[in-house]
Structures are given as C-alpha cells and as structure tokens.
C-alpha cells in the first residue's frame, strides 16, 4: 500500500553503536532541546499540554546508533541535561529506523510498540501525553519530498 519511497526497518551495524557510545552525548541533548523550544515558540505544541511536563526529565535512546539525548522541561523551556539522570521520568528507546519512521509519520507508535520496535519505560501517562501531543501537531505544509510521502 505504501507509495513512493518509504523508510525500511533496519538495524545499524554493531560497530556504529560501539563508536556512538564513546562520543560525547551532550550535542544530541542540546540539539533536541533547541528544536523542541523552537516548536513550542511557534505554537506547534499546545501550552496547556506543555504545562503538564513541568519539572519532568526525559531520555531518548537510539539503541543501534549508541546515542542518547536527555532533557528536562522547566520554567517553560526544554533544557538539555549534560549527564543522564539515574531514573528519568520517561525513556523512549528504539533503533534509528523506528525513530525515523515515527518522525516521517510513516508508522504509528502503537504499531511499533506492538512489534517491539519501540519501548517506553517510566511514567506511562506522561508517555501517552507526549505521544498524543506530537500526534496533534499540525506540521506546516512542506514541499512533498519523496522521503516524506507515504
């Protein structure tokens, strides 16, 4: 049923994660927090949902790339955390392909969860709030790149 190019399910070679884990992780955290703040500032993320994130910490782990990003939400801003908290309020873990499929809205998070391609650990209700908040974002109309068609 998929038309055009779609992101396949893949796993990066184990060497990639071995190297990735040795690299500093703070640039990922900084980049992600900056992107989320930009999305919040232009009104893509509803303020009443954002308010419910106050004081919570998050970990995004890209398993096969050996990369992770940690951030928290405090005082109306996403703030990068330069070391991973021992027990973040919420962790999303998946391989790179699953995150790319989610970002491109090619796959549904529940589908990835049923297939065990995505795992969520921590405060489940917080996870649901984030999932639903991102689902409700009306992304600006982008030119139809083949990668983002499905």
């Amino acid at each position: 049923m998929t038309q055009g190019f779609s992101i396949p399910r893949f796993t990066l070679p184990s060497l990639v994660s071995a190297i990735g884990r040795q690299l500093p992780q703070w640039p990922h955290s900084l980049a992600l927090a900056t992107a989320l703040n930009a999305a919040a500032r232009v009104g893509l993320l509803p303020s009443e949902d954002l308010a419910q994130l106050e004081g919570r910490s998050f970990l995004i782990e890209v398993l096969d790339a050996g990369g992770q990003a940690c951030f928290c939400y405090r005082g109306g801003w996403f703030r990068p955390l330069f070391s991973a908290p021992a027990a973040p309020d919420l962790s999303f873990c998946a391989n790179l392909s699953a995150f790319l499929q989610l970002l491109a809205r090619q796959e549904d998070p529940d589908t990835l969860f049923f297939r065990r391609d995505l795992s969520i650990v921590g405060d489940t209700e917080l996870g649901l709030l984030i999932k639903n908040m991102l689902d409700a974002v009306e992304w600006p109309q982008l030119p139809k790149l083949p990668t983002f068609r499905h």
């Binding site: 873990c93 549904d108 049923f114 065990r116 795992s119 689902d135 409700a136």
Partner: protein, 337 residues
C-alpha cells in the same frame, strides 16, 4: 453494472490531524470526543478542545462527510450536568449525530434537542433487537452500534427485526467483547471506561525492561511478560497471560485486532448500515493506513459486487497495524452460540 450498496465507513479521530487523515483517505464519517471523561477515550493529550472541534467539523462537513460526537460514558453521581452540557455543545456545533450510551442522557437529548440525531453507543450494550427497538421507541435512536459478541447470523436477525440502522465494528483492537458491561479494568484499578472514560488508565501501567524481556504491570498486577521476539498488546487484564490449572496462557483473549475485510460482501448483503474502525487513541498515520485500505476494499465491493476479490495487500497492511500483529474475525464466525 449497477453499483452495490456498501456500508458507510466510520473512522476514529483522536486529534485534528487524525480527522484530516480520515477525511482525506475516504471516511464517510468520523467520530470524535471532547477532552474530558464524557467519552470513552479520555486519555492525556487526546481529543478535541472547542477550537479544534470547530475546525474539525468544518473540515469534514465542507467535504460532504459526517461528524459523530461520542458522549458515550455514564454520567457520574452529582455531575450529570457535565454530560448534558456536552450534548448541548454537540447540538450547538451542528454535529451530524451524537453517540450516547447512558439511558438518562438519551432521554435528556431527545427531550431537549428533538432534531439531534441519536446513535446508541456500543457501550450501551444492546445485543438484541428488543434492546435496539426499546432505544428507538423511547428515545428515537436512529442507529445502534452492536457489541462484538454477535455472530454474523445474529447481526442479520437484529437487522431484520428493527427499523434502526445497524453499525458494526470492522477493524481495530479487540477487547473481551463485552462492551458496556466489562468491569475488569475496575477490578484492577477501580476505574473503567464507563466511569472515567479509560480502560486500564495509563497512570496504573508500568512497563519493565529486563534483559531479553519486557513485563507489563497494571496497578502492580503482573499482566504479561514478553520475550524480545514476541509481539505485544495493550496492558489490559483481558489480554494477560495467567496461570490456570498449572498452565500459563491467554486465559481470556489473545492480543489481537478484529478485521472483517474478508466478510465485507456478507456484511453488505445482510444490510449493515456502517462499519466502524476502532482506534481514537492511535496516531494519524494509523487512521490514514486503515481508512485507505478499507476504502479501497469497499470501493471494490461497490463496483464488483459478487465478483469482489480480496487483495492480499489489504490483509497484509491491516495485519501489520494490528495489536499483537495478528487479526481475527472475532465472534462473527464463531461456531458456538
């Protein structure tokens, strides 16, 4: 060739992008709810505030599609006005119908808004034509959604004995099929779809990862453990694996999704008015994928009639999206009564 009459396709909308996805991919109607416990998908961050509701209704109706508003939980003691206000709001917004379960609310809606079209929710749990005809006689209900407990022959019997349009589930996560009467979630958490608008609310759910497996707990009760190579389901009691007589298995129901695509010709023949897709909690991507697939199948049925040919690609696409990555015909082809 004369086109065969096919059921309407009713698709879920948990957000504005999901509503647009349903409309853009061929839904005849969408169903949605407010951001509160007046509907049975009361999940954090899901559903429509007033602004999104207005825009969603405009988007669908301007394209000739219908909007059905689910107000399908039961009014809680001392708070009946919240449910009545939801019905008033739906009437003001000009939705095409409201989907209600509570008999008191049905009475309120038919007295206060005689022009508002009423559908009986699956949560109303009407499984016989007598129950459906009661709702028609007393409240003027025009359509009833049947719980997923009836065989196809039983659905046909209901249709032959009622003037009310009949809607059945066509695709989506299957629960223990006792809609409106299930208290398993309350047994574990004290909260259920009928009371708070959510089955197994997320705040009670804990997923634990350990090497090689993932365990699910609901309010501390171990529901299931999945090896890394096993497909998972929603964290509900009905889909747990339990030890019964020394054997551990899915004692009530396997994680699975209902899929009627292979019996669509039969469903159309017996006069089902509409088929419903479950999943307001799923993302716009799921809504687009399921709507597109079922639209293609219904269009094929409309043009080919008895020469309807089931495409393996449709089955594959729907199975891929399913809970536990498997599908079933559920009660429709059940041999026992």
């Amino acid at each position: 060739m004369r086109r065969q009459k096919v059921p309407q396709l009713i698709c879920p909308a948990g957000s504005l992008p999901a509503l647009r996805a349903a409309v853009d991919h061929g839904a005849d109607a969408v169903y949605l709810g407010y951001r509160n416990d007046t509907n049975a998908r009361n999940f954090a961050g899901l559903n429509f505030d007033q602004k999104a509701m207005v825009e969603g209704i405009r988007y669908a109706q301007s394209r000739g599609r219908q909007v059905l508003m689910a107000i399908n939980t039961f009014a809680q003691p001392g708070r009946a006005t919240a449910w009545q206000q939801a019905v008033d709001g739906a009437a003001d917004l000009g939705v095409d119908a409201v989907i209600l379960a509570d008999v008191g609310l049905l009475d309120y809606a038919c007295q206060r808004h005689p022009a508002l079209r009423l559908h009986l929710s699956v949560q109303g749990s009407a499984t016989s034509y007598e129950a459906v005809n009661f709702a028609h006689r007393e409240f003027g209900v025009r359509r009833a959604v049947l719980p997923r407990v009836l065989t196809l022959a039983q659905v046909e019997t209901v249709i032959r004995n009622t003037p009310v349009e009949i809607e059945v589930f066509g695709f989506g996560s299957l629960c223990v099929m006792n809609e409106g009467r299930c208290w398993l979630s309350s047994y574990a958490t004290g909260e259920s779809p009928n009371t708070v608008g959510a089955c197994s609310p997320a705040k009670y759910v804990q997923w634990e990862r350990s090497p090689g497996q993932m365990s699910t707990r609901l309010n501390g009760i171990l529901i299931d453990s999945f090896r890394d190579d096993e497909a998972a389901g929603y964290p509900t009691l009905c889909k747990g694996r339990f030890e019964v007589d020394g054997e551990t298995y899915y004692a009530m129901e396997e994680p699975t999704s209902l899929n009627v695509i292979e019996i669509l010709p039969e469903i159309a023949r017996i006069g089902v008015a509409a088929i419903k897709v479950e999943g307001r909690q799923r993302s716009p991507t799921y809504v687009a994928q399921v709507t597109r697939t079922l639209r293609a199948a219904l269009d094929e049925l409309a043009s080919k009639g008895q020469h309807f040919h089931l495409k393996p690609a449709w089955q594959a696409e729907l199975a891929r999206l399913s809970e536990g990555s498997q599908v079933t015909l559920g009660a429709y082809n059940r041999p026992w009564r």
